[in-house]
Symmetry: C2
DNA sequence: TCGAAAAATAAGTATAGACATAATGCGCCA
DNA sequence: TGGCGCATTATGTCTATACTTATTTTTCGA
């Protein structure tokens, strides 16, 4: 597979041993120095390989404690978060965008809780529809700190999704997947029946420790989000 | 934050420059040697920091091409996949398990498609319910290569989920999130109304290039899957 | 002028050596 | 016996150097 002596080769061999049962679950594996001697490579190379496996959840490493094979590994899966336009275009479809609403107002309590904000804070509320080949793709519901995106900024032609990535980039946050039934407006926008099961992604974005924006993306029926193990 | 000269410090400084606009989107940043000289550290340290950012989707690196800040970064989010018992216990609840059905039979076409299997292949079909503090947590629907888990293996007390992790570990696969309405049996098992919007996770597991098992986990209403950015 | 070969470049990786850090666990002392 | 502190140990990381590899740019010949 990989030329011997590379960290990928060491990783592959380690994986092979785990699968073959040479390194059984719950057991401790030889330390880096031993493996480096056995494989005839530098300790740093072994370190790179084992660190990679540990990041994937396939090994547990602790200083002094050594490296062990977890009994029930907690695997890590990753998925990619692109802006919606890229997501649509990546499927070979044409992206369309329609701003449905742009107003100032108090958010529902669930949103306030997610944002952890004072009650009366100025908040802009946007509703927009993303289209793929002219069919509804995703409904964007966003609450936004009014100081981050002042009223001058218009989201008529560029989605808040894209504006934020371009203007407030590289910020942290958290994400959650959930299912929700289509309410009246969502059903109308996404062209489905009220009560239909829809996949939604909720995201809160932080900047300097404070929540900037909360967004709920509700996808059209049948949408799937793929991740790689 | 981090003591200077560490790769974390370099990463933090790189991130700061991106946020501050010193390294604007679309632009190319200085090469590793230059940054190493500027920060007074080894090139390997800069490499580690920039590689880490590239893995998170915050930088794009190409040999000879240099390192650039993507205009619309495709962020990577990760979530943890534990066995369901651990998932429940991690919430501080007691895990329960009930096998509802264990039979041999032909899978529905959607499952066959996901598995990419010949029509008549022997397939075991399991249905099981996971409980959290005696309340329905998740419905497990699994199709399994009969040669992987022969009839002797009983899933009465141990879930297939756990059995597989312990016996066929470290295999690859793919995962998808979707929403589906509760059908009759699911509504009964999960104690909700038919048609309720439920979050489901589908996973196909491969071993040596061949599909071993397909599982659909349908969660009780209100369930969320969290990921970290 | 076009295209192929050669040079240049920046990231990718390997290595040996050193020191840092976090657990572990042992031994000492009360 | 119990608890505290220090020695031990395996991983974590940094450095300097060298070589490799992918890709771009330049050069040169047809």
């Amino acid at each position: 597979m990989d030329r011997p002596g590379t960290w990928q080769a060491v990783r592959a061999e380690a994986l092979r041993r785990m699968r073959a049962g040479d390194w059984p679950p719950g057991g401790r594996i030889p330390d880096e120095a031993e493996l480096a001697a056995e494989f005839g490579c530098a300790r740093a190379t072994v370190n790179r390989a084992l660190r990679d496996l540990a990041e994937a959840g396939l090994l547990e490493r602790r200083r002094k404690g050594g490296t062990r094979v977890p009994v029930t590994p907690i695997r890590k899966a990753t998925f990619e978060i692109a802006i919606i336009r890229q997501d649509v275009e990546g499927r070979g479809q044409r992206h369309g965008y329609r701003l449905l609403e742009d107003a100032l107002g108090p958010p529902p309590p669930e949103v306030l809780a997610a944002l952890d904000w004072p009650e009366g804070a100025g908040m802009r509320h946007l509703t927009a529809l993303h289209l793929a080949d002219d069919r509804p793709f995703c409904l964007e519901h966003r609450w936004l700190d009014a100081t981050v995106a002042p009223a001058e900024v218009s989201f008529d032609t560029i989605s808040a999704n894209e504006w934020l990535v371009r203007n407030i980039p590289y910020s942290g946050g958290n994400i959650a997947f959930l299912a929700r039934p289509a309410d009246g407006p969502a059903a109308r926008a996404l062209d489905c029946a009220p009560g239909d099961a829809l996949l939604a992604v909720e995201r809160t974005t932080f900047r300097d420790g404070a929540a900037i924006t909360f967004v709920r993306l509700t996808y059209a029926p049948g949408h799937r989000v793929d991740a790689t193990l």
